[in-house]
Symmetry: C2
Subunit: 298 residues, 2 copies
């Protein structure tokens, strides 16, 4: 069986497990909070790719971390990812009506519910991570909380979104675009990989390898996304295409050109796999994931 | 010197210290995150009453907790309070233009910045609490994180705001209104008091006393607020008055009548002070705070 077949079946297995975990963590409810809870469930239980959960599970798997712990952390990270999508899609932000081919939360419910569901999801992530079921050692839990708080905040995802939104003059500066993307999306990829290493109490050397992998993978993922925004189509993506271009946003493609971006993507992907070499065949799924980013089939 | 004079000078001392702590935790910055950081500072450094920080400092003071630790927790709680105000004031929520006599964050900046500043503040609170400077014992820090996450989330502040917003039929049911207020505002008062007890490793009995105090104080505060909404004026409050009434919202006053609400306020205040009896003169400031809520001078 080829690696890409393995990846597809692994992703589908991960998505089933993580959805079940998320559904248990956000149980349906009657009463006054019902529409809030419905919006939270709608935001996290859609047809996401569950790439971040896959990264947690594969990274933790390298160190034989208990699966139920990994699933809780994977769920927490997916929750943070979805909170950021719900808020980024708001009319006052990116003003998107579609996400994964479905109405965005503020379209399906309303704006107030979308703001509140996002807020509740962010708190929920910290609730999950700080619970003793995630790890018996409070030192491990507080490390996860502290890292996530930094990655989510003003010097992380929110800061990146602000840079992206505010039309901050990125100009033709690859370094500035890379920094913005690292803040906005790279940090959470990094945390997903890092959390497996934290739970697995990885050595400093292996920590370093995984961090380097996550860095290259995150950038590669963003470049592939920029390329798809130009060459993709709305059916395969389930969201509006050509939006960055039409908004005049600086992207890797606008700065490097399509061929330049493809070359850079290829370079980052081979480097990302190089960092995984030390883990041998145990990292095969992660390597297949890199390949599918390079071929833009994910 | 009377207790109320002591309270006023203590509040002014607390506000200076907490503002200095907040200002250090959210330092001014240049570069692309500048407007985000400016909005965060604007949201937390205004002329708030700093009641929640006072509760942290006084509660922790009962157990001789180190002042610098208390200030960090006080700052984290004020940050969460301000995040909730920024989001609640948004046009899609309560649509308020004024807060503490000043333009609300989305008026002073814009809606996107207000959403993002709120998001960044919520993450910041968890970053502060999880940092080793808050307490050397990870067990203490994780307790604080876990409790705050629950109080802030869908079964806490966000759930309460959702109930308040969604026009959920509270009807004439005092129990339902009390529950909504406990979720929306009472939880954070409770956490402020509880955090002092956690940091001070209080006995179960004293924990219980403080929790009972916080419960009564929180409700009393809300009833006083409802009364002020009817009898206050815009100059003394720095925000719109009569808004709940004109929106037909169920409040303690609309259900109990003005005199009934005053009587209930008085009952809760005497009970709140009763719970503090065991602490003797060390709780004098807390008792004075209750008195000022009862006389609606705070």
């Amino acid at each position: 069986m080829s690696l890409s077949v393995n990846l597809a079946s692994r992703l589908s297995e991960v998505s089933v497990k993580v959805k079940a975990t998320l559904s248990a963590l956000i149980p349906e409810t009657m009463g006054p909070e019902q529409s809030l809870v419905n919006a939270m469930r709608y935001a996290v239980l859609g047809d996401g790719k569950f790439l971040r959960p896959l990264l947690v599970l594969e990274s933790g798997g390298l160190f034989d971390v208990d699966g139920s712990r990994l699933l809780r952390v994977a769920a927490a990270i997916e929750v943070v990812h979805c909170y950021s999508l719900v808020h980024d899609d708001l009319p006052c932000m990116d003003d998107d009506d579609l996400r994964r081919g479905q109405p965005t939360v503020h379209k399906k419910f309303d704006e107030a519910t979308a703001v509140l569901a996002g807020d509740a999801l962010l708190s929920l992530a910290f609730e999950i991570l700080s619970d003793a079921q995630t790890h018996f050692d409070p030192n491990v839990r507080i490390q996860l909380v502290s890292l996530l708080a930094r990655i989510a905040g003003a010097k992380g995802m929110v800061g990146g979104q602000m840079m992206d939104m505010s039309g901050f003059q990125l100009g033709n500066d690859i370094a500035a675009i890379s920094r913005m993307q690292r803040l906005k999306t790279g940090g959470l990829f990094g945390f997903a990989v890092e959390s497996g290493a934290i739970l697995g109490k990885a050595s400093e050397k292996l920590h370093h390898n995984l961090n380097s992998f996550a860095h290259d993978f995150g950038l590669a993922f963003q470049i592939a996304d920029d390329i798809l925004d130009v060459v993709g189509n709305v059916e395969t993506l389930g969201k509006a295409v050509g939006k960055d271009q039409s908004h005049g946003k600086a992207t890797f493609v606008s700065v490097m050109g399509l061929e330049g971006a493809k070359a850079h993507l290829s370079y980052l992907c081979s480097q990302a796999k190089e960092h995984l070499h030390v883990f041998g065949a145990r990292a095969d799924i992660l390597k297949a994931l890199v390949d599918s980013v390079e071929s833009r089939t994910i």
